[in-house]
Symmetry: C2
Subunit: 318 residues, 2 copies
């Protein structure tokens, strides 16, 4: 990186930063300064040509055009950030919790993605979230949610779960085959901090292969696959939320997830189900349809361990 | 910058880069690797929040939407690059010519901007480019175009000039007051490498104050002014083209040009005109209307001094 330092005008970047006036908010100044330095260093490092820069301008314009033409439904700009790892990175940053013992950390977060619904129905412990036909493996999923500091179970945690069906589509994308809220549900942990429910062993799927994100993936000789995953959003007033995804350990796309959302502690073992607990009441047994079992404990950090929130950048409407 | 290095996953960025497949072109790999590193370092350096990142996604979507809704006429994405100095920087990079003596360099380049026209008329030496009424100072502009290596004058150079009128608008933007090709023209240097013509002393103007670029300028507490300038595009088959802008030395916006296109050697002295050359023929005197004089010599680098061209990134249609 030292090679370019003396080649081009050494004062240029600082000059751009120094044009910010005294009324810039400190956070805006911090963000703009860092962004300008990195964009300039990038351009100098690769000797970016005017044609390459203009190709980038055109590419971002075309990407915004797709969003405008779909009335905001298709957000390829968001997807571009995902395939370069940016959403995964800001998720890691937001969920960073400093602990003295590196083995003593909360369950990792992973990107929320575009398919969460605020309208998922409340369900009872032991219910199934499966409401429409599928070709998947029904899975008995259960576990304990614990406090990072005390390791004690936490009652009354909201456990919000959503997943694609065995055809790789969410209910939103597949109204012909799935009823609304198929494979979605919210549960509360019981007095022992336990949740239990039935879901599907998840299925891998591809990002859309007809837009700017796919153009970039092709140019990088990359695939468009996400590993099979189940989304979780685990919340309690006294704890830092965990928004995450879990993955079957034998999925072939774990290492190269096209949005880089896999973390080691989120890889799970969907085992063949030997038997349901002998004390399970009949209405939770669902006729013994389950063929897999996933036991997954979750650790939440108390809010007292949070990083301070950033001040807002600026009011853009001002 | 060292503070974040051990805070977040140290392998993440290299992992994102390593997903590029073997069929990525070397240039694409170079650009993607550098861009991913700088975007990630930026996010870690400022602890970018998910809300800030999403505000950025929305901002770029809105910017692309303006372009789509104007059928490509309003390119705010390009303008955003200008106000962070990126177009000026890629122009500097593209026009970098290494010479052993730092005082021995070609005339600096500056951004082309959106107002160049391929259809400007050819004019004769000594003609005026002024065709419509104005409130400006008519200027007799002349000079010699020289070879950087030999310092000899170059005959038959194309000298393409365009500028806004005294109201700060180009002919495209002002059809009520200006005829087509007002304040535009192409000239050829004579056997002594000389050009001469009449133009206006230029007038400062503001970028549009109703879009994303203005939103950013407000948030940075910056103004939207460009210093007064005249555009030049100087070409000859055997020389590296010089696309540039020149500025009157007493303009108040030179130091803080909102697109950062001012270079020291482009700042000129528009002097009061004492007299036109005594041997100038009557048809070049235009009734003695000129009140200012600008003498500006230009130096062109022979193409043998060029940097090698980059290979293309990729064929996006492939």
């Amino acid at each position: 990186m030292a090679a370019f330092e003396h080649k081009y005008d050494q004062n240029f970047t600082q000059h751009v930063i120094d044009t910010c006036g005294p009324k810039t908010s400190p956070r805006m100044k911090t963000i703009f300064s860092s962004l300008a330095r990195h964009i300039h260093d990038f351009a100098r490092e690769v000797d970016l040509t005017p044609e390459e820069w203009l190709a980038g301008v055109d590419f971002l314009n075309q990407t915004g055009k797709l969003w405008a033409e779909s009335d905001g439904k298709r957000n390829e700009m968001h997807r571009l950030c995902d395939i370069v790892g940016l959403e995964s990175l800001v998720t890691e940053i937001a969920n960073y919790v400093q602990t003295e013992d590196p083995n003593y950390i909360p369950t990792s977060s992973a990107i929320l993605g575009p398919f969460w619904s605020p309208n998922a129905p409340w369900r009872e412990l032991g219910d199934s979230i499966i409401e429409s036909p599928h070709d998947g493996y029904i899975t008995y999923m259960h576990g304990i949610i614990r406090d990072l500091a005390t390791q004690k179970p936490i009652p009354n945690v909201t456990f919000d779960i959503w997943q694609a069906s065995s055809n790789g589509k969410y209910d939103f994308q597949d109204p012909e085959n799935q009823v609304d809220n198929n494979l979605r549900g919210k549960f509360k942990t019981d007095e022992n901090g336990e949740y239990r429910l039935y879901c599907l062993r998840p299925t891998a799927y591809s990002l859309p292969r007809d837009g700017p994100a796919w153009d970039i993936l092709k140019a990088l000789d990359r695939h468009s696959m996400r590993p099979a995953h189940i989304h979780l959003r685990i919340t309690h007033d006294e704890y830092k939320p965990v928004i995450t995804q879990i993955y079957p350990k034998d999925d072939p796309w774990l290492e190269t997830d096209t949005v880089f959302a896999v973390k080691d502690d989120l890889v799970c073992d969907f085992k063949p189900l030997k038997s349901l607990p002998s004390n399970m009441p009949p209405h939770e047994r669902h006729g013994g349809e389950a063929v897999r079992e996933l036991e997954l404990d979750i650790t939440l950090a108390p809010k007292s361990m949070l990083q301070p929130l950033k001040e807002p950048i600026t009011d853009r409407s001002a």
